[in-house]
Amino acid sequence: MPEVYLDHYAATQVLPEVVDAMQPLLRDGFGNPSSLHGWGDSAREALEAAREKVAALIGANPAEIIFTSCGTEANNTAVKGIAGAAKKKGNHLVISAIEHFSVMHSARTLEKSGFEVATVGVDEYGMVNPEEVRAAIRQDTVLVSIMTANGETGTVQPIEEIAEIAKAKGVPFHTDAVAAAGSIPLDVNDLGVDALSLASDLMYGPKGVGALWVRKGLRMMPLLDGGVQEGGRRGGTENVPGIVGMGTAAELAAEHMDERAAYLSSMRDALIEKLPAAIPHLNLTGHPARRLPWNASFVVEFIEGEGMLLFLNMQGIAVSSGSACTSRALKGSHVLSACGIPAEVARGSLLFSFGLDNKPEDVDYVLEVLPPIVQRLREMSPLYDKFLKSGGDQNSDVQ
């Protein structure tokens, strides 16, 4: 049986070059970068070299990169830290309805300490309208945080335009680039943002590492109080092997970005073209053109995602779903809901996320395996039954 991993949005493989780069730091190079001796010194050098590579991926000054333990920590640090430091200036934030929970729930936590949060919506393609951001900004807004691209729908946001608006209004702008970094070209100065989060494990680096870039001069309270690591902006002994892995992953991502994107999007486009032809009542989610090169996301009407995942898994295919039943919290995707997709349709969500290990044949295998699975589940579904009895194919519509 083939093994077809199509869940790179949940986790990417760690590239062999990356694993190799980490090994010396896990073995002889175990020193603490803060130590004043040779062991410490080589660890510090490895750390700073990795910082330069991560900075290079996003066109940033290495001194402005803070390493964190994951994208979630980067987002918590940015949202709570920038808002917290600006408390005297105001207590209003602007985020979007499709932010990752690490941004959204950080904003909720701020609400408990007196902040107000404005949440701008998205259109049917999951796009934020910059004009809505403009309208949401107030005199007392201290932070705008809108993600660079959404991993569930693949939609890439108009970051430059939002940045321009925020800048004109004098409000710092953070963007969560966890799903985008390494996949599409990003330059913090071209984008015009003030802070940007990224993570290692979505770009073929190890888990347990993320980074936050914060433009010099922007005040931010640390989230992790402690020692003076990371310029006093993040306490805790640095995860040197992980950081070095992220550095190598970032370097490779920068070097091979175009060819990777071309390769991934060819498979993505094949699936987007052929799957709706092979399965009726299946629709693309997210933006048809402005999307991450690896993302092909759909909703399949009348059935629930978990069943599809289990059957696909039996056939060696790994994917994910934004369905309520596949989330540990048993909540449907807030992203699909923000795109206006009805709750029962969103339950049939299927997310294929391509990676460097995929082959064009993988698309064919999905096209072979998935239609009978959908058919089988629909035959069990009382919703499909009702749909057929109520006139069938004539009046189906999702979007």
Binding site: E306, M314, G316, E379, M380, S381
Partner: protein
Amino acid sequence: MIKIATYSETVMDHFMNPRNVGEIEDADGIGEVGNPVCGDMMTFYVKVDDEDRLNDVKFKTFGCGAAIAVSSMVSEMAKGKTLDEAMQIGRKDVADQLGGLPDNKMHCSNLGADALHKAIEDYRNKKKES
């Protein structure tokens, strides 16, 4: 890479090969339940013989793997039982027969017994009316 530890083997078996899926065209009773929390839906169809025994039970289910396995297990447990016996089948019995359900799925997906009971009540109501 195909093991899913979330579910017991029995759950996976009933999910992969559900017993008694379908509709009974001339059902004696139909029970429909929908879970407002996560939106699972189940429809049970029963056929009752002269001795008040369930001689056929079928179902359709929209929901996660556990919901499908629960429906299948309930249908199997119910078949051949008298109506009174079938009314005794509780949620916990079903979960036990399945070798357990994940904690977070106990509430949402374990509606099969309710749907069965509704179908039996539907039959009894119809009988009363007629």
